[in-house]
């Protein structure tokens, strides 16, 4: 640590002090965050938790004195290492960004410039004119070693698209740390990553903040990750800071009602399973045997055998690239290039949905991963639901009753029927997608990562909804990468790794005594979240 850090003597070891910060939107003057005060000490990490729209990203950006379009800081101070950013000129702030405060954005894929090689990219982040070219190069290599990436020339000449998601995120972390900042703001940096990669990235962040004595602000909606990482937790709700304290104190005795709700929403990694694990009835509803699928010459799935019984939930667990979406799309008739047998209720399912009978299409419904893309933006909710119904079931006598019934099964009120998708939140959109799927009264619902684009609190609601549907007798094929979700919803689980099922059995058994080492690694990498609250909860 060559750089002189004399500035922080006055404020003890508090590097970041935010006092009464208020950010308003223009021109409506609505307070996006109001009167927020936090402070972070050197080498510690503050976990900033809240649902989407609670203002946590706005707060994170204002720590860099950066405001999103049409917002501005109207009151309060942001002091980084003794300097008030809010009162500095644009030029002064620019001097400090990257050196005093650095930012790691949510999606590394879009944060790295695809046209720049890593050497240029990292050198730009350093932007320190006092360093010679050789020094700068040495610094770049040093920081790459620290985030456990190769530091040779071959690696430095790569472009971002030649890296994996985890590597990209580590490059983003390296970019943030290269200027030895006093404060680093991390905006959900692991949201798009697999658990194994997430565990590595979190470990890197932890170690780097300790070594550099940097104060970290970790923004997340996932209590489990924050509990694992942060020294202190601040909970945001509707633009206000509702609770703040040491992590263990907040986890064991949360004071605010919203914090308690957040904690309860986190799926517990280990549950007792859901009874019933034994071999089900003779002929399952869906039987997939010897399925192999691919794209062109590339094989993605090999020798898959899965079955789903009536009223049962089977989880397909796997990381990105394991082929789980390809499998679910094959079942839904959206992926045609597969061989093997798919039997539904005794009859074979054709590869293409257009070759299936209307009855088969009605009985197998699919819910998509991203609710922001799965609804036609030009159609009202009512028409979204009635479209498939008219096509598969026929013209209803009372369309309003069909829509209201479907919405009710998805736990939405009938008043949603007149809305357009853009007037719905992410969770509401996903409910509409579910309502659209259940309107035709299917027997099997294929859910492709349907909660991965949603907040943890919304995820808990969706899971509860699916459990209710299951109790009504619907079978679920639940595709996910989240092992904690599996133990909360499924009876049986199939673990997919590189296109093969490596473990298949009742959830209770797989979670408590995993046989395959891949499953064991998955369980070990997932933050095991067991708040004391779970017992005291009402």
């Amino acid at each position: 640590m060559t750089r002189d850090k004399a500035k922080d003597t006055a404020g003890g070891d508090t590097v970041l002090a935010v006092d009464g910060l208020t950010v308003i939107g223009r021109p409506s003057d609505v307070e996006i965050i109001s009167g927020v005060s936090v402070s972070v000490r050197r080498g510690e990490i503050l976990g900033l938790v809240g649902e989407s729209g609670s203002g946590k990203t706005t707060l994170g950006l204002s720590l860099l004195a950066h405001c999103k379009r049409a917002t501005q800081i109207s009151a309060g101070t942001v002091e980084v290492a003794g300097k008030d950013l809010a009162s500095l000129s644009e030029r002064g702030v620019r001097e400090l960004r990257g050196r005093a405060v650095a930012y790691i954005p949510q999606s590394p894929a879009s944060a790295l410039n695809p046209a720049l090689r890593l050497r240029t990219q990292l050198g730009e982040a350093l932007h320190d004119a006092s360093l010679s070219a050789a020094d700068a190069d040495a610094r770049v290599r040093e920081v790459l070693r620290e985030v456990a990436l190769p530091d040779d020339d071959a690696f430095l000449t790569r472009y971002p698209h030649q890296l994996s998601g985890g590597q990209q995120q580590r490059v983003a972390i390296a970019m943030a740390f290269v200027g030895r900042p006093d404060v680093i703001v991390l905006d959900e940096p692991t949201t798009g990553l697999d658990v194994t990669t997430q565990a590595h990235v979190l470990e890197t962040i932890r170690r780097m903040t300790r070594e550099y004595g940097t104060a970290g602000v970790y923004i997340s909606h996932d209590m489990a990750v924050v509990a694992d990482l942060a020294d202190e937790v601040a909970v945001m709700y509707r633009g206000e800071l509702v609770e703040r304290g040491r992590t263990d104190a907040v986890l064991t005795s949360p004071e605010h009602d919203y914090t308690r709700r957040l904690l309860r929403a986190v799926p517990l990694l280990r549950t007792d399973g859901h009874g019933g694990g034994g071999e089900p009835e003779e002929e399952p509803l869906l039987r997939v045997s010897g399925l192999s699928a691919g794209y062109g010459r590339t094989r993605v799935l090999e020798g898959i055998d899965v079955s789903v019984s009536r009223g049962e939930c089977v989880a397909l667990l796997g990381e990105s690239g394991s082929g789980k979406t390809t499998l679910s799309r094959s079942v839904a008739g959206l992926h045609h290039q597969f061989t093997g047998e798919v039997l539904f209720d005794g009859g074979p399912l054709a590869p293409s949905s257009y070759r299936r009978t209307a009855e088969q299409r009605r009985r197998v419904q699919y819910v998509f991963q991203n609710p922001y893309e799965a609804l036609n933006p030009r159609k009202r909710v009512r028409d979204q639901i009635l479209g498939p119904y008219r096509h598969l079931v026929g013209r209803p006598e009372d369309p309003d009753a069909v829509v209201a019934g479907a919405l009710e099964r998805a736990a939405l009120s009938a008043s949603y029927a007149d809305r357009f998708p853009e007037q719905l939140s992410g969770g509401e959109r996903q409910r509409v997608c579910i309502a659209r799927a259940v309107a035709t009264r299917p027997d099997l619902l294929v859910c492709d990562e349907i909660t991965s684009a949603l907040d943890v609190s919304v995820q808990a609601e969706i899971v509860r909804l699916l459990q209710n549907l299951q109790e009504d007798g619907m079978a679920l094929l639940f595709v996910t990468h989240n092992i904690a979700l599996v133990s909360n919803i499924a009876q049986r689980v199939a673990v997919l790794n590189r296109g093969r099922i490596v473990e298949y059995g009742p959830v209770g058994r797989v979670m408590s005594a995993p046989e395959h080492e891949y499953t064991r690694a998955l369980i070990a990498d997932t933050p095991d979240f067991r708040p004391a609250l779970a017992e005291t909860a009402d």
């Binding site: 008739g333 299409r361 998509f368 991963q369 498939p388 009120s413 809305r419």
Partner: protein, 295 residues
């Protein structure tokens, strides 16, 4: 996480809040100005024949004579009333340009959506055929066909529409390809909705933004081409009153009788500027909508 009470309260306001392309475009001052200018010229062209003081072929003055009693702008190259011919000459231009642009855009949209959605060999064949059509400059192609087959009204419309078609198809195909990646199209495929319905119901409404912009643009070009064809004598034939034709007929007398040229020229100019301003507003609004800042 909205509680039911707030949800109900919001839904009342929600119905009216739908931010459409047209409303977004209307927010720009340029769009309003464009609508006023275009409306003015359209009004002249449509209402003109009913308020014209004479018939378009009536002789009221000596050739290129100005200051004649009973005329406002004097006579043209044959001594017919300039004002009357100006008032009569607009609707043909508007009708030809409008229908050429309309047919071209509709045909282009159909070709673009089908090519973009079906992909495969159909896409290849259609788009390569498009490329061939694109190789002909619009005006040259029109002149060529007119000089071979002779100037006929339906031919003017057809040639201009055909020359618009590949340009529109290209834009729409790109927009379509973006839309078909979205899951709602896959959802429609999963329930086995017929292809044509997917194109009509799921895709077409979601490519209207570029389509509207394209319509404005094509209208501007159509006005230009129709007027130029008239001027070159390949459009409507004398003695029809037509703005393009008027410019050609009266250009020798421009020094003594400027009105016979100035009126149609400025009308065409105002119309083109007006339509362009609307198009510009539309495309700005469309960019805003695409980026999600239109809300």
């Amino acid at each position: 996480m909205s509680t039911p009470s707030t949800a109900v309260a919001r839904s009342a306001a929600a119905r009216t809040r739908r931010a459409g392309l047209l409303r977004g475009a209307w927010g720009f001052g340029r769009t309003k100005l464009g609508v006023v200018l275009t409306g003015l010229v359209v009004l002249v062209a449509v209402a003109g024949p009913f308020v014209a003081p004479y018939t378009p072929t009536e002789f009221v003055a000596k050739p290129f004579e100005t200051g004649v009693d009973g005329t406002v702008f004097g006579g043209d190259n044959r001594g017919r009333d300039v004002l009357t011919r100006f008032l009569w000459g607009g609707w043909t231009l508007l009708l030809l340009a409008g229908s050429a642009a309309g047919i071209g855009v509709v045909a282009g949209a159909v070709v673009g959506v089908v090519a973009g959605y079906q992909r495969g060999w159909l896409d290849d064949v259609v788009m390569r055929a498009n490329d061939v059509l694109l190789a002909f400059p619009q005006l040259i192609a029109a002149l060529l066909v007119m000089s071979v087959l002779g100037p006929k009204v339906w031919l003017i419309v057809a040639v201009i529409a055909v020359s618009h078609m590949p340009r529109v198809a290209r834009v729409v195909r790109e927009a379509t390809r973006k839309v078909i990646e979205q899951d709602y199209v896959k959802a429609a495929e999963a329930i086995g909705l017929p292809r044509w319905r997917i194109m009509a119901v799921e895709i077409l409404p979601n490519v209207t933004s570029p389509l509207l912009v394209e319509l404005g643009l094509r209208l501007t070009y159509s006005i230009g081409v129709v007027a130029v064809l008239g001027f070159l004598g390949m459009g409507l034939q004398p003695p029809t009153a037509d703005w393009g034709l008027m410019i050609n007929e009266n250009r020798q007398g421009m020094a003594v009788q400027p009105w016979a040229v100035a009126l149609p020229v400025s009308a065409i100019a105002v119309l083109t500027i007006g339509v362009n301003l609307i198009t510009d507003g539309l495309s700005r609004a469309a960019i805003g909508i695409d980026r999600g800042v239109g809300k």
